[in-house]
Symmetry: C2
Subunit: 504 residues, 2 copies
């Protein structure tokens, strides 16, 4: 009876290929001819705009302001912070010339030849610690200038050999927070505050449960003292790092010379932090919530939360139906959901109804509303929820729909979070021995989050990563994970479990 | 009696240097160590955020959606559109390598060496016509796919030899609209619509009157069929091109192969447009409205529209005053001005009152409000308007202030527009002869907008530009400029006056 799903292959059959097909079917992004660089199409960019808007509110509520720093970084800046640079700047775009000369060819075409060689080459920022550090060094003189609480929305670039839309692209969009503080305590407080902001954003906005934790030394941001992470599980049971917040100690302040005259009249180095989230969140959202019919947008994030589909069987009632749909949209747009006016679209295109319907299913619009001549007469609408099957449809009175619509959106938001939490919990397992661990991550077994006691060395951690392609995603912060036990590799005592998983 | 102005030199004395000092005094931007690239500081970026937000609303109201395209452009794309490329791509940043190797030096330092030479170099986009054209060619198959109405917010880069903050920088931020249409009429309608949107934005948001007009062939965007511009006059009487909207005909569609199957079943090239505004608007705003005390922000654009300055003469009433200021701010923030919640800041820093006051004057905050212990008792506040002198202060009842505050903001907005219009009109002159023209633009004379009858050739136009550093800023659209006359150079009949001016 049931129709074939819209996306082929299914998640079960081939998750990576399902992902590519879902992105394409939802028309969210595509590869460009520039290796590793994507074009973010309007439906994908609309989601990014909502991510930006909602995160930006949180950043400002916590006292941050936005600024903008140069795209290009002099090589000498990277050379100052060698540890950071070696971890980061090895695969990046290098600008060596500043002019092109148009050369007419004998066949009438034009060739562009790079000229104007630069004395010092630049790299396109892979991240901005060094260039922002140089600005902070100019701005900070006294403890009165601190804290500096800055965020930047920007594009960054890291040359990628195996790009995947949203998940790993040479150019991507992100925000990078950079702050400088008088004391270690304040900087650590900031690091943890933004870590919390990220965890809240994922849970309450993207409907993705995360386990907040700290990275081990092996997995830290190059040059950081502590790296905090929010790790999500997606439907192939792999982990994805959705955001990180770093306490950088005085390392970057020393490299960039961010010094200030303290309250005690001595010169001191500032304590700095940095934290970031990127367009990778879009890939995370798709892999966390999507089903075999395509993307499912959590209502808080959806570019359109409601799409109204006019049902126009006969030309002579078409205009009346369209007018009624527009009127409904107008009324809906006066309502708010989490403080934002409802985003409602009326799809008036002259296309077959089934095709339109499936298009919006694949794009993941939370509510689809159909209205035709008979609905106008009976003052009702047909409502379809994206978190239910494509055929599920409820006929409700128009007034009831208007009254309950934001409640319905919240129900969908909650249902997505519940479903994602269930999926994660079902695939998170406490184990004690190496045999269990190896079986859990054996080829062909589904894997998931392995909660293990761990007291191994950095080298032993590396060896597991190399042998089994499994890493410690984080040392969870929550007390839930605290208990006495023995490291599954070394047998040494451990007071907490860590999370091992395969990851993106 | 009057105090020396805050900015030295004054506008009268040295306008270019005044401009640099104003930007610095308002803490809006600074030069970075990357040649020609600026750091946009929070007060400057806050203005840019408001420009973005308000323009974005207009773009969406007119049916556009945002998307994002790659930063890097393959040289082969530029070679396809040689006319465009030669006009644009000569001074730009060229990426030739994709890897850095860290080399340890004998002295313990690290050197970064570019490696991984690219087969085909890239340029950092100076504008995105070519790369967006390639995407449009993939997206457009049939007339049903048209119109495509896309906007991009992005950074772009043009190597600049003589950079000036906001006005001419190697990297700058902008929006670039790119649209494709079925017919010439539709594309021309779009070009004119966005031209109108720009003129409205400048007039009603930035409080800058502009003369909408068309560029002559000499001044057109490379490859465009028509270029429409909004030209503003700033206080040194020079013109600044604040935004342009281009009808590109089928030129770019042919170069990028944007073809579609038409209603008549024939393959046709699309008609495309592009239009853009940039961080240059910030420089325009500063030069249009600033005075010898610094920036003046039009209330619609100000990052803070109101700054409340607690007057705390004694420690024991300090907290009470601060609480009252915060309460006032909270009440103000529930009011809206042009649909946006009021942006209000309480400056609680422990600094001397006079220093704080001057800081906000130099930053151009429209309303400064002082409240101290005596004001609390008398339920009043002291209000200073930035468009009046630094000493002008009005004591008003707190309730009256709350009732009238948005009206007061609109008064300032209107006053700035009126002042800028008066300045422009006083410096715009109809002239008939070459002698008048030469005297108007002679060294040492103030210059301005010369309204001249013109029927010269492109070469004659070039010669004037070369000899006198004066160009035709636009052929105004408005009928006001239509009248019969004779070209001041050639004596040929002309039915309209054009605007000649020196320009940024
Ligand atoms: Zn929240
Ligand atoms: Zn307007």
């Amino acid at each position: 009876m049931s129709q074939a799903p819209a996306i082929s292959p299914t998640r079960e059959k081939d998750f990576p290929e399902w992902y590519q097909q879902v992105v394409r079917a939802a028309d969210m992004a595509e590869n460009s001819e520039v290796r590793g660089c994507m074009v973010i199409k309007p439906w994908g960019y609309g989601l990014w705009e909502n991510i930006q808007k909602q995160l930006d509110v949180k950043f400002k509520e916590t006292g941050h302001v936005n600024a903008y720093f140069p795209l290009l970084i002099p090589l000498s800046y990277l050379e100052k912070e060698a540890q950071h640079a070696e971890g980061f700047a090895t695969e990046c775009a290098v600008v060596t010339h500043h002019r092109l000369e148009a050369q007419k060819q004998p066949d009438g075409t034009t060739k562009m030849i790079p000229t104007g060689k630069l004395e010092e080459p630049f790299v396109i920022r892979p991240t901005s610690e060094t260039i922002i550090g140089a600005a902070f060094a100019r701005w900070v003189q006294s403890y009165r200038d601190l804290p500096l609480l800055i965020n930047q929305w920007a594009n960054v670039m890291r040359w990628e050999m195996r790009p995947r839309l949203f998940l790993r692209t040479a150019e991507f969009l992100w925000q990078e927070g950079h702050t400088a503080h008088e004391t270690e305590e304040e900087a650590m407080e900031e690091t943890k505050l933004m870590h919390k902001v990220y965890a809240d954003f994922l849970r309450n906005h993207l409907a993705i449960p995360v386990i907040p934790g700290e990275k081990t030394e092996n997995e830290r941001f190059p040059g950081a003292v502590n790296t905090f992470t929010v790790e999500a599980m997606v439907q192939d049971r792999k982990a994805i790092q959705a955001g990180t917040s770093h306490y950088l100690g005085q390392n970057f302040a020393k490299a960039a010379n961010i010094q200030f005259l303290g309250r005690d009249n001595t010169r001191q180095f500032a304590h700095t932090t940095s934290w970031g989230m990127s367009t990778r969140l879009i890939g995370t959202l798709i892999m966390a919530h999507g089903d075999d019919d395509g993307v499912i947008m959590p209502p808080r994030m959806a570019p359109y939360q409601i799409v109204i589909l006019p049902v126009t069987p006969k030309p002579d009632t078409r205009q009346e139906v369209i007018d009624a749909c527009e009127a409904l949209a107008k009324t809906l747009r006066t309502q708010t959901f989490h403080g934002e006016l409802l985003r409602v679209h009326v799809d008036k295109r002259d296309l077959q109804g089934g095709a339109k319907n499936w298009e919006w299913i694949k794009k993941g619009v939370p509510l689809r509303v159909e209205m035709g001549p008979r609905d106008i007469t009976s003052r009702s609408v047909a409502v379809c929820r994206r978190d239910q099957g494509p055929k599920a449809k409820e006929i409700v009175g128009k007034e009831d729909f208007l009254r309950d619509v934001t409640e319905k959106l919240q129900e969908i938001q909650d249902a997505l979070l519940a479903r994602a939490t269930e999926m994660r919990d079902a695939n998170m397992k406490k184990m004690e021995t190496m045999e269990e661990f190896q079986a859990f991550f054996a080829e062909g077994s589904p894997g998931g989050f392995a909660l293990m006691h761990w007291a191994g060395s950095n080298e032993e951690e590396d060896k597991i990563a190399k042998d089994m392609k499994v890493t410690i995603r984080c040392v969870p912060i929550s007390d839930e994970f605290a208990e006495e036990g023995k490291c599954f590799l070394t047998g040494k005592p451990s007071s907490k479990r860590v999370i091992f998983a395969r990851s993106y």
